[in-house]
């Protein structure tokens, strides 16, 4: 057990180290000078004033120190949770802006992931080797999984908020409301949440249904299924065993897919101007706010790594063979 998790945690720590280093390297070794860009954004300065401002920024960000020192400083402030100040947020600390956005993103992602995984796997398992369902669920699944997240979001918002006016068009809650613990605010929050959730859910659902359907077919063709059938076991029992075996790759698939899913949430939020991380990313890019962008990047990495770790734990709980192997036995 310790060896298994030790190995996993080591991989995640190295990954985080590599990612954070990339985060540090990019602004320093990319063509173009971000500080120069920052200075020219101020505009209307005389040459000496912009020179002074340039030096001021260089000093402020510690860019006039030797590179190894800069690298050490980067880690020190990172471990203190200091990610710099946001240009887009007029000097608000980046960490505060991210913390304000994270609940919205997680509120979209967690229900969408769990629900689509559960329903998609159930439908996929039902569809395998059943002609009628296979001919309906499968084509829909392929269309959904090939759909770019933002496009489905666009179509849904065009149909349901603009044409039929059932759901609000944009934002996390109505412009006329303040976040309070009232019923009115809560229903408004849910109404704004529903369409982004739905578009994320639908695209993911297609992928899980197809994956499960194909996996079950492999399992039903394998030796143990054949053997059970030969023994005269009822079809439902064979399918139950096949389902349990097909679940495991789907759990690993969830871990592998997390990066893509987060990306999907980002673009979906942009369509609905939903006040999560995606909306912040878009604003940061449009206003050239590199601190904010890099902070969000680190948070996405941490989130994905944590989720991977949770999936690892779930896998050990679900698959008894990993536990046996950890105790030194053979499954």
């Amino acid at each position: 057990m310790r060896r298994y998790f030790g190995r996993k945690i080591l991989t995640y720590l190295i990954t985080f180290f590599v990612a954070a280093t990339i985060d540090w390297l990019i602004p320093r070794f990319m063509p173009g000078d971000p500080v120069q860009g920052l200075v020219s954004r101020t505009g209307g300065l005389s040459e000496s004033a912009s020179k002074a401002l340039y030096d001021y920024y260089n000093n402020l960000f510690g860019l006039n120190q030797p590179l190894p020192v800069q690298y050490l400083n980067f880690w020190t402030s990172l471990l203190h949770g200091n990610l710099g100040l946001s240009v887009y947020g007029n000097g608000t600390p980046v960490i505060d802006m991210i913390m304000g956005a994270i609940p919205y993103t997680l509120g979209l992602l967690i229900p969408a992931i769990l629900l689509s995984w559960w329903l998609g796997n159930s439908f996929g398992a039902l569809a395998a080797r059943r002609r009628f369902l296979d001919n309906t669920v499968l084509p829909i699944g392929y269309i959904l999984t090939a759909t770019p997240y933002m496009w489905l979001a666009l179509v849904l918002s065009f149909l349901l908020s603009i044409n039929f006016k059932i759901f609000p068009l944009a934002g996390g809650y109505g412009f006329n409301l303040e976040p309070t613990l009232t019923w009115l605010f809560f229903t408004d929050l849910v109404a704004h949440w529903f369409l982004p959730f739905l578009s994320l859910f639908m695209v993911m659902f297609g992928g899980w249904a197809i994956g499960m359907r194909n996996m079950i077919i492999y399992e039903l063709e394998s030796d143990y299924s054949r053997y059970l059938e030969a023994l005269g076991a009822p079809q439902s029992l064979v399918r139950k065993y096949a389902f349990r075996n097909a679940m495991l790759p789907q759990i690993t698939g969830l871990a592998l897919q997390l990066g893509v899913i987060v990306a999907g949430a980002l673009v979906t939020e942009i369509v609905f101007s939903y006040p999560g991380l995606g909306h912040l990313v878009f604003a940061a890019i449009q206003s050239g706010d590199y601190f904010l962008l890099q902070g969000i990047f680190l948070f996405i990495i941490i989130g994905v790594l944590l989720a991977n770790f949770i999936v690892d734990i779930v896998y050990v709980i679900v698959d008894p063979r990993t536990r046996v192997a950890m105790r030194g036995g053979t499954a």
């Binding site: 990319m30 603009i162 897919q257």
Partner: protein, 311 residues
Amino acid sequence: MTAASEATRKPVDVAGDGEKDSAPQARRTRGEIVFFAVRSRKFMISAGLLLVLIGIAVLGPIIDPTDPVAQAATPMRSPTLDPGNWFGTTYFGDDVFAQFANGLRASFFVGLLGGGLAALIGMAVGFTAGYRGGWIDEILNMITNIFLVIPTLAVLLVITSYLKARGVLFEAVFIGVTSWPWAARAIRAQTFSLRSRDFIDLAKLSGRRGWKIIVTEIAPNMSSYLFLTFILLFGGAILIAASLDFIGLGPTGGMSLGLMLFDAVTYGAALLLGLWWWFIPPGVGIVALVGALYVMNVGLDEIFNPKLREM
């Protein structure tokens, strides 16, 4: 999504000769593959759709040589059957069909180059790790795992945002360099299951070099699997490019399907003005292209692997 399930499925019998090495069946003939291909509904439908899309991408800009960013036509015209702007025009007076055809070209380009590059890296890493084993496998596995958990789009986001001028070529190369890990993992697993077969031992005994055994013995035995992997990477690259374009980090100067969506939403207010003909075609184009590739992947899988055929 399909890519993930592909990466996690168990190594199948890629050599197609059952577990018994001593009595390999006769190799499948080309004729047999064509026989099943013509009878596979999945393959025929997806191949037909792909041909239509290739036709639009190749011939579209030749038949209708309008500049996709000329802003020369009447703005906000709805689609008509009259010659001219059949897909309508944008808020700025660009021809939507010209944008669509040129954007489709860019999608094919990004998919082929990005997917191809990812397939090459995935094969290099997967074959080496699976065939060599030992500490080389450990190190390559570690690198693969690191690349696997880093969210690609987040990295692309930070890197591309620093570049002032970006081309489609750059986008394709970056997607290729970051999307290979699951392919490497899948190919490694397949190589692993082939490595201990008798014919590989024979090849080793005859004194052939390692990379030559990989190229002449292992790769041909899983050629169909490699091709399927490439198709999935192709589709995935198109989707990643579309997301990147939509966030506003697409090619500067040039046209792509994702860029059409970005323009329509960010600058054109296509949703509020009801200009559905601006944002519907690029989405339909991406869904048709990627969907056709995914369905073709499954169709070909059934053609190559007799166990999966629906009888």
